[in-house]
Assembly symmetry: C2
Homo-oligomer: 338 residues x 2
């Protein structure tokens, strides 16, 4: 059955039928339900090309992950927020997983060429990130979760990583801590660079020197938090405070502190950055953990908004947001010992 | 530029070009890279319909989530495994998020009608699950993560939830515990029904009665684990042992036990089901947690295999797997007190 015949049989225009079946938002839910029910009953299968021609949209947003291992607690919260927002407009998310950086570039080329998505969301940008220039060249609309340096403006949402870690470092310095450690991410990533800058700037303001032996890098896992903290505590002059990049790193760091026979909040103060995981709340740690806090789920929702505004024709440079980060003092921080 | 002209200019067959651009597996990576590079350079944009006609495939697998809130630690591990497997064949995952059960049915109809996916993965099946009959009627291939009761056979992978919780319950009964609590999921879901059956069967074998006051249901969060455990401990005859449905529930339960001034492993024994989260390891709890264990990431990978075999024409009833669950005794379990 052709679109024309099907539309006539159910008494709707061809455009309405196409829009209803593409999942795009201009159609009332009842109309969509009626069209889908009729399509199933009458055995109507639309011609995808004709339908996309009618709506001009793929009805999906793409996101590319490098390595399935990248799916972790941060990605599920972010995807949860993004999908919650896109769902309201009936838009799906196309997830592509690739192995290498070169594969990721190929995936964007493929997405642009095949028109399977209307836009993509780029996550974990590097300070110098080839993906941005590539996407601009391909003409595939995109929003970046995070920041990067690029010649031409692009849409992004980032949190104030610099300010968050500067605040945390200043707070610890104000409590008399002089040896403050930092558990940070891969320094090629902008967020880790910004956190490092925040840390160094705050130390400098307090006339403290940043000791390279007190900074560690790695993925935000319990294991890395544990390993790095054990290393810090084995130094001739161990730190009396530590800033952990995530609640997962904090779990490991706290374990290392305890195993060393020290008490969190008394012998070693700890601050963690909390992306807000419903199952891992800083209030529920013993002692409750002082945090810099910004819900990554909300960032995902907001990026959904930005994508839709971009597709409605707003300029990328009008779609740039930097969110301040909350600071919450709890029991894991206290005056420097002795 | 038409496919014919583009293929001629780069000296490849039209079929090879179509396959390379669709991301399907029969094409060598070097050939795909060459085709994509040439398409970008020459400004070739394929006709999606022609391409799908050539390959007969959408190159994507669908998964529908009811509510963005369903994106949690389990879904990211599962998606990580699934995408790792599908990535090897260049296949993407199309994620649709919907609000209600009726919306979910509409989403499957839309996916079937629009041919945007070759198959779908169904998760968290209910004992009686309307999705299965619907997908069979729609002729959309699918694999279920979990089990359900249906007239016609379908492809699935499940873990032995019955056996896992029966083993855990028997172990506790063997240690002399008589009041054993169970923190379970929504009883409409098959996995929760099977766990409940395992629990009751093991109690009956040991001539113990199942006290309804010692079973709680809810999502597997820290908060629910805490709330349910506090309720159990407030009973006139509180339990001396508890089985938690996930590591998240275990976190909350352990907190409630500690707040009550009791020691885990001495006053109250605890066993948790561990889906294996790299950032929340039972060895790292204090005391280390006895678990029934099955990595949900591996289940995701294996379901990717099953989907591909289904698409290659294997019969659904030949694609049914039930995985045994490991049992690991650690410090959180001990003899019943007194």
């Amino acid at each position: 059955m052709k679109l024309k015949e099907f539309a006539a049989r159910i008494g709707l225009s061809q455009t309405t039928v196409s829009r209803a079946m593409s999942g795009y938002p201009e159609v009332k839910p009842e109309t969509r339900a009626r069209v889908l029910e009729a399509a199933e009953r009458l055995g109507y299968r639309p011609n995808i090309s004709a339908q996309r021609l009618a709506t001009g949209r793929a009805g999906a947003i793409g996101i590319v992950f490098q390595g399935g291992g990248r799916f972790g607690p941060h990605s599920s919260e972010f995807m949860g927020g993004l999908s919650t927002r896109l769902q309201k407009d009936g838009i799906d998310i196309l997830v592509s997983t690739v192995e290498t950086e070169a594969d990721e570039a190929a995936a964007y080329r493929r997405l642009a060429a095949s028109k399977r998505v209307d836009a993509v969301v780029v996550h974990t940008p590097k300070v110098a990130d080839a993906r941005i220039a590539l996407l601009q060249k391909l003409g595939l609309p995109f929003v970046v979760h995070g920041r990067s340096e690029a010649e031409r403006p692009f849409a992004f949402l980032d949190i104030d990583n610099f300010g968050a870690i500067a605040t945390a470092t200043e707070h610890l310095a104000g409590l008399g801590h002089r040896r403050i450690a930092l558990i940070n991410g891969d320094p090629a990533n902008t967020y880790a660079r910004d956190r490092d800058l925040g840390y160094r700037t705050a130390l400098a303001r307090r006339s403290l020197t940043a000791d390279p032996a007190l900074t560690g890098h790695g993925e935000f896992t319990d294991e890395n938090g544990f390993r790095l903290m054990q290393g810090f505590l084995a130094l001739p002059a161990p730190p009396t405070a530590v800033i952990a990049g995530s609640m997962m790193s904090a779990l490991g760091a706290m374990r290392a502190i305890r195993i060393a026979g020290l008490a969190v909040g008394r012998d070693v103060s700890l601050i963690a950055h909390d992306d807000v995981f419903p199952y891992l709340s800083p209030e529920n740690f013993v002692p409750p953990v002082t945090t810099t806090q910004s819900p990554i789920r909300s960032a995902g929702e907001r990026i959904g908004d930005l994508v839709l505004r971009l597709l409605r024709g707003e300029a990328p440079k009008a779609l740039q947001e930097i969110w301040p980060v909350d600071f919450r003092v709890r029991g894991s921080t206290g005056p420097a010992p002795g």
